[in-house]
Symmetry: none
Subunit: 418 residues, 2 copies
């Protein structure tokens, strides 16, 4: 590995991680991302917000490594001493950075809040360093390039850490290690359990370049292809070959690539067709609507959702016949279909969806157990229903039901001309 030429270390700073109350996912994310650049992490250290320990960790990392990434200790509280300890160890002083201060002020103005002395202190950065602007929060990232070392200080808040890692750290490291081609592509799979998926793709040549990342709550699996090589064109060709082989085995269950989400794909399919959708939810309690409207621009195709928990609401708002509920029960395919038809009618949309089920942990019976869910889709030309049995807890049953709804809409359009 070329990474041996640039040994790396990660230092996680913070009592919360050290005490085990926060699991150190930051270190894992950084190590994986560096690994993709061919930079091997040799050492990971976690210390608390204690100057003495931080000093020792900083000094040791400087002696052992050439790429050092720290997280944590850049916040506004008195525990946040990463910058001052860094100054102490590497003989620097703290000076105010006007750009950072401006960034903090703007953030506070946008949020309509008053700036405190603590927040202004966050604009103090060590001399002879480069500020990496944090677009996700107030704590600036700091970069030091000296004696062949690349030292990055990142905040500990995962969202801010990830933003700076991707947009500030990775580009700087790519320049340092030389353009080594790393080509990555993610294939998102829905509706196939991971173990079945593994059986399907077994035996594909070069499969060691494919990682499978399951999201058991959502009921999705991501297949991540990573190919490293000296030439981009060769790496790209290998990625394309693997994608082709995976698609041949997995087929339509692959719903999207890279940054695409299932709700985003559904939105795109609707937008392409100039079609609209409305939702009638029971057991999912608004989760399908939440996911559909997570997509910016969803107001172009999403009209309304009715979350009808009570039978009265199903009857009154969606026009589900009282007798239908009495005869089949609220959790039944006929009721799901009536909900879908009802919401399509009142929403005046092309597609109407109905979902009814038992999320649990209570409400299940021998005949209708927790996890039983009916989903129906009403469209010009008819209404179709599908039955599911999810075997998880309340949260998992709700998420998997929402995923199944979105996938049913997606499959409805597959193979149909726009």
């Amino acid at each position: 590995m070329q990474g041996q030429e640039l040994p790396a270390e990660i230092i996680t700073i913070g009592n919360e991680v050290l005490s085990g109350h926060t699991v150190n996912t930051n270190a894992a994310k950084i190590a994986r991302r560096l690994g993709e650049l061919g930079i091997a992490v040799n050492w990971t250290t976690t210390v608390g917000d204690v100057a003495e320990h931080m000093r020792e960790a900083f000094q040791a990392a400087w002696n052992r490594a050439q790429v050092i990434v720290t997280t944590g200790g850049l916040g506004p509280t008195h525990d946040d001493i990463t910058r001052s300890v860094f100054c102490e160890v590497f003989s620097r002083t703290l000076v105010r950075d006007e750009m950072v201060l401006q960034n903090i002020k703007e953030l506070f103005t946008r949020r309509g809040r008053t700036l405190t002395e603590r927040n202004i202190d966050q604009a103090m950065v060590p001399t002879h360093t480069e500020v990496m602007m944090n677009r996700w929060g107030t704590a600036p990232g700091i970069y030091v390039n000296e004696d062949g070392r690349h030292w990055f200080m990142l905040p500990g808040v995962p969202r801010e850490m990830e933003g700076l890692l991707e947009h500030e750290v990775v580009p700087r490291l790519l320049r340092a290690v030389g353009e080594r081609a790393i080509v990555r592509r993610e294939l998102h799979v829905v509706g196939v359990p991971e173990s079945h998926l593994m059986d399907r793709i077994d035996g594909i040549p070069g499969l060691e370049q494919v990682a499978s990342l399951p999201d058991s709550t959502k009921g999705e699996v991501t297949l991540r292809i990573t190919v490293a090589g000296n030439e981009r064109a060769t790496a790209e060709a290998e990625v394309a070959r693997l994608e082709g082989a995976l698609r041949e085995r997995v087929g339509e269950a692959i719903y999207g690539l890279d940054d695409e989400t299932l709700e985003g794909v559904v939105g795109r399919l609707l937008t392409e067709r100039g079609m609209t959708i409305s939702l009638a939810e029971s057991c999912t309690g608004g989760l399908v609507a939440t996911r559909v409207t997570d997509v910016s621009g969803s107001s172009n195709y999403f009209r309304l959702a009715v979350v009808a928990y009570s039978n009265a609401a199903k009857e009154m708002l969606l026009g589900v016949p009282h007798d239908l509920i009495v005869e089949h029960g609220a959790v039944s395919e006929p009721v799901a279909k009536a909900m879908a038809e009802g919401v399509r009618r009142i929403g005046k949309t092309d597609i109407g969806v109905g979902i009814t089920g038992i999320a649990g942990p209570t409400g299940g019976t021998a005949e209708k157990p927790v996890g039983l869910t009916y989903i129906a889709l009403s469209y010009e030309g008819g209404t179709k229903g599908e039955k599911f049995l999810f075997g998880g807890d309340r949260q998992m049953n709700r998420w998997r039901a929402a995923t199944a709804v979105l996938d049913m809409v997606r499959r409805h359009f597959l193979g149909k001309a726009q």
Copy 2:
């Protein structure tokens, strides 16, 4: 903290953890368990299966700490060198332990598998150590008690690690530190930014026993009190004192304790009063309903939600007057109030809530910027509205709006008899 008397370190060994492909949950579990015994972990190190790095980590830990727990590197493969490196650093040799061998043989017989040379090698343990029998797998745990150090070597497989931790490590440490009480309590705060909260609680005696954990997406902060002492009653009294002091400064912004969630507290307040709620959402797109129905038993007080994205839906389903939208715009206090009143009427509930705003990233204007949100609450006796300006991205604006809704309902009941 008495823990200072027995400083502890954790060393995680293994390429999988180092490369980030496995998140280091072992270290978090060990640190939490040790913390409960009053033993503070000061340092956590992760190294790969590399003798040179392991030697350095072992030597440093021996010099710094009195309790050392290592995980990993005890398996049957050639990468598993924890025992041999330990022997090298601490001048010991490996000898076969007949009890361990017996244990391994029995496990293989039970599983109907054939013993290999590699497995027999697992029965080799360093001299002058104590074997901790592993009932969950083949790799023995090893304990060294020398020069006031307690050194534990545990396997990396979480199930085996946890079994040995609980049944072998904890009892030995309890004998070393004596019985000890750790009392913990979490106070959840809503509606106050972390930096303002820090200013409010500044100067409270014993504040070093309080950690602040912000959740910036939700817009909540948790204050976690942890008190360790020789007597439970004393520690409990100190926790109560700190809780009292924090409540005096933070007041009603503290919505709950420990496992309580904001949606759970709202549910409890409604249940206690035998009251019901319905929701009219626009910018939150169903997120408030999703959070409300996340609570098991919410069907007792939640009736329905209408997610009305389009103006037509607001008018038709919620009865918001067309002229009101034309005059004030869909994102305005009068429309939020009409939505709240409309949904309360059709849901026939005690409380009706209306939310309208601009989640972004598009749709904002100079007059009505992204993040502007109006929330209204309709109840027997009137309707009240509130204006918010959230300065985040789409996801954050939606989550903070949902938190603000739930908090507005909570505050509505504060100080009122049930």
